[in-house]
């Protein structure tokens, strides 16, 4: 028996333990590997791609490479020199030949409205490469815009490889031609409003879900099994119907000629139909309905684990029911409240279909704008930047929640 110890004595015990554990670690890794790879491709990859797209500035360097190179020596004051004009003329000819001019035109048009026309008309009217030394005059002759500082500053600001333009735009900021960060023009400054609205709706829906879900979860956790199973089926029922169907059902119920208004009018309680849908009320109603199970289930799972003995103990120690609830029961449900709120809030701020269908023009959330920029205008940069800002603010909230949840360990007793 001692011989075995002596034989291994030259290898430290910790190392031998690690060696023995290694096989098990490999097996554990093998078990999660498929999911890990799946997540890498479907989750981490796309998010990284989105963040990259929000700063990627490839259009102008690709379409106007010589111009970008020539402008690198320009100090940004006044107008650039003759070589820059010559490079632009050369790039325009090549771009016209390859048909890629629209790509750069679209990007530059974000910076200066009307840039698209300037670029395409110049390319169209530039029959041949200008003689050496006359490029500046030729281009200004074709379009006087080439004699303006703003148009050259636009090319310079969009010459990549990365840009802060989209991210700034996503929070209603932009750069003036000199590169200083300023507020966006009023007609373009909408995203702060939209983000504010998105978070307000998220908070509102979360609060409604908590208020409505908490008693149901309590009931579920405390009813006899047979009744609680039945109730659980009702809670889960919404999961078995498609989101679109449920949302449309709300339209049927809430519209002017819908069930609610019809009943109220028939009862004579109202003369005119109430406006229940295509406004914020409808959005709250439908989203709360859809997201309620996500609040109830985490609450239920936490409440199930709270022994009824705690409330009995509190009562036997002299606590009236309300005191016992607030000091003994509620604090123990905090993990469930936190998990439920975080889940509902994060799902809510990403909502798209429901607000689009039951909300009015002023109730569209950030996802609607992201969808608009990806599918309608194909402005991947701004869509990604809005997504990145949404992601960032969600992460900040999750961190704050984490800090709060850890911070409030104990209350009651001597401290209260």
């Amino acid at each position: 028996m001692t011989a075995a110890f002596v034989a291994g004595a030259d290898v430290p015990l910790k190392r031998r333990l690690r060696r023995a554990e290694r096989a098990r670690q490999f097996r554990a890794l093998g078990l999660v590997l498929p999911l890990l790879l799946f997540l890498l491709f479907t989750f981490v990859g796309p998010i990284a791609g989105m963040i990259w797209r929000s700063v990627d500035d490839w259009e102008v360097p690709q379409v106007l490479p010589h111009t970008v190179a020539a402008l690198s020596s320009w100090n940004g004051q006044g107008l650039p020199d003759e070589p820059a004009y010559a490079a632009l003329a050369r790039d325009l000819q090549a771009a016209r030949a390859s048909g890629s001019i629209g790509v750069a035109a679209k990007r530059l048009n974000y910076v200066v409205n009307g840039y698209r026309t300037v670029l395409t008309s110049t390319a169209r009217n530039l029959k041949a490469l200008p003689e050496p030394g006359t490029a500046k005059d030729t281009l200004i002759g074709i379009n006087p815009a080439w004699g303006e500082h703003a148009h050259w500053a636009a090319i310079r600001s969009a010459s990549g490889p990365v840009t802060s333009y989209y991210l700034l735009a996503a929070v209603d900021l932009t750069r003036d031609p000199d590169g200083a960060i300023i507020a966006s023009p009023e007609d373009q400054a909408i995203y702060r409003d939209v983000f504010g609205r998105t978070f307000a709706i998220g908070f509102g829906v979360t609060a409604l879900c908590l208020i409505l879900g908490f008693p149901v979860a309590y009931l579920l956790a405390n009813l006899p099994t047979a009744q609680s199973n039945l109730l659980m089926i009702f809670v889960l029922l919404p999961f078995w119907t498609s989101l679109l169907v449920r949302t449309c059902a709300w339209i049927v119920i809430l519209q002017s000629e819908g069930i609610v208004n019809g009943s109220l009018q028939w009862l004579g309680l109202i003369d005119e139909p109430l406006r229940l849908i295509y406004n914020r009320f409808g959005v709250y109603m439908a989203m709360t309905h859809v997201l309620l199970p996500f609040m109830i289930l985490p609450l239920y799972s936490v409440m199930r684990s709270i022994s009824p003995a705690y409330m009995r103990a509190a009562a036997s120690l002299g606590a009236p029911p309300a005191t016992a609830f607030f000091r003994i029961y509620l604090p123990q449900t905090i993990p469930g409240i936190g998990a439920g709120c975080l889940l509902v809030f994060i799902l809510a701020i990403g909502y798209y279909i429901t607000p689009a269908l039951v909300g009015g023009a002023g109730d569209q959330m950030i996802s609607a704008f992201i969808a608009f920029y990806t599918t309608e205008t194909v402005n991947w940069g701004l869509a990604s930047a809005l997504g990145a800002v949404l992601l960032l603010s969600t992460l900040v909230l999750a961190l704050v929640y984490g800090k709060l949840a850890l911070g409030r360990q104990t209350t009651g007793g001597l401290k209260s």
Partner: protein, 369 residues
Amino acid sequence: MDGGMIATTQSLVRFVGVQKTYDGEHLVVKSLDLDIRKGEFLTLLGPSGSGKTTCLMMLAGFEVPTHGEIFLGDRSIKNTPPHKRDIGMVFQNYALFPHLTIEENVAFPLSVRGVPKAEAKSRVADALKMIKLEHVATRHPGQLSGGQQQRVALARALVFNPALVLMDEPLGALDKRLREHMQLEIKRLHETMGITVVYVTHDQGEALTMSDRIAVFNDGIVQQIDRPDALYERPVNSFVANFIGESNVLNGTVENIEHGYARVALDAGGSVLALAVNVAGPGARTSLSVRPERVAISTGDDGDPAFNRLPATLTDLIYLGDHTLAMLAVPGNDEFMVKLPAGAHAGLAQGQAVTIAFRPEDCRALDPV
């Protein structure tokens, strides 16, 4: 209430004709009349489902009697909610609040009563000192061992000086050694603090060790309520005789009763004189109960003629250190047990034909099993 129901000064709690049913068909507690005296340690002992825990829950206020009254002092507490009863309770799984520290747990009953903070602090310190756990005051319950948690639960139930402390199988989750240690600790607290304790358990050893009186429950009825030694020595029916300690049972029919002794003809032949405790009269069926340590084994046929004698065959000898257990086959009972003091089994061998002898006063004629 009825004028005749005013409690005497020394009884703290009175159950008067209490019945309880959960389903409206089956009575869990059939008819309970029970006096709990001030300062006593009363144990409700019985198998699971016998109604003892239901009684405790009715006393604590978590269950409402279907019929009857419960008096605490001289007021009926039937309609008093649990938090106004001023009864401390210790639960089987301790029920310490997991999100509060030990001192916050112990302070809880004081803080809900609005005891000033400084006073609460010193009372909590005293309570923790009493259970010798001052050093864990700032920890959370999850960081304590089972025994420590149970002591904290005790301190929490005692810190507000309740009139009555209820304990619902508080030691059930502890291992044997710790349980025995805690039994003595609870007994010590009871004696030093002079509190009234109602203790529920299904462990008869625990009940015998700790109690001033034991109420034996079965089938929703208190079978017998008495001091531990009286319960063991003088059970009034077969259930108590068999539930408390070991008992040898012999069935027979009463032939006659004279001077409190019954002559019983055993079913398997033979006749025995027994103390007539719970028999209807001549001709009635009866079960005799004899404690294993009250029986002697002899190899010859000599001895005191006043003793009951029965032929037996020794089937097994089990050595248990401080005593030896002899298993015998007696007509009508193949598992007759006799406890022999250490060293007294010399000369006995398995399969040997012997005679067992016991005094009539050690043999109790009880209701038929």
